[in-house]
Symmetry: C2
Subunit: 141 residues, 2 copies
Amino acid sequence: MTSTAAILKNLKTAGFRTTTVRTAVIELLASGGSPKSVPDLNAALAVRKITVNKTTLYRELEFLKQQGIVTDVRLNERQTRYEIAGDHHHHLVCTSCDRVEDVELDRELDEQERMIERRTRFKITRHTLEFFGLCGTCRTA
Amino acid sequence: MTSTAAILKNLKTAGFRTTTVRTAVIELLASGGSPKSVPDLNAALAVRKITVNKTTLYRELEFLKQQGIVTDVRLNERQTRYEIAGDHHHHLVCTSCDRVEDVELDRELDEQERMIERRTRFKITRHTLEFFGLCGTCRTA
DNA sequence: ATCTTTGCAAAAGTTTTGCATATCC
DNA sequence: GGATATGCAAAACTTTTGCAAAGAT
């Protein structure tokens, strides 16, 4: 929901800078439709002729996490992926080509969460739900 | 559903050995109620006075994965966790103390899966659903 | 001037690989 | 003997940390 411009403006107001890397990282994550790993981001930045050290990227992502702008996502792979926080959704992961797509549910899981809270002593604050299978391309290939 | 004894018997029939480590790993995973990481397993084995190299553990878990006996689980942490495959369930993860508990849903997500398949070109084969929050101990502490 | 941002090198943590040895059937 | 299983050391891969330099306000 929050646009890239609004995010950057808020950061600026808070005294942080809107550097080339920061702007590009936020844009890439906001435009993606899928969560991105550090190697993903580095490659996408390279296309834009932006060279950046991996340390800087990890630090930038940690910073954006602290600011509540991004969250991390762990699918069935080593790397952590990152996406813009806030609009709740899930992921479709192709187990053949590793493509990841965002997906939303018509009916969310609030009912199930309440049921679990009734049944256990857990207080649930969030959940992650990922679907695995074959994407359109891989299922016909 | 499949008992430890049955798993071991099948492995033996297939020409594999039921070593101390293999037996203990399967028992630990089968009895757990929560997925275990390699350090978890190593610690639990130590209690049973079983000393084992981490390489052996990783190799054993990879082997059990190949055999379809275990699957890996990635929660919001670096390490991979492992659990017995087959009985579908979800996890409650305490964000304060990192405790992990298995949990089952009354109503599974088949309906949602069908809806996504109608809406996208994805063929879904499985999903993972994890709940995060505070466990009974941490919410009062 | 000061705080933010960046790069580089090194370290840390997890998982994998190569190779040699031991063990079971 | 031949396949299976294990240990050790080293490598690979992802992420973090320390320190110094550069850049912006």
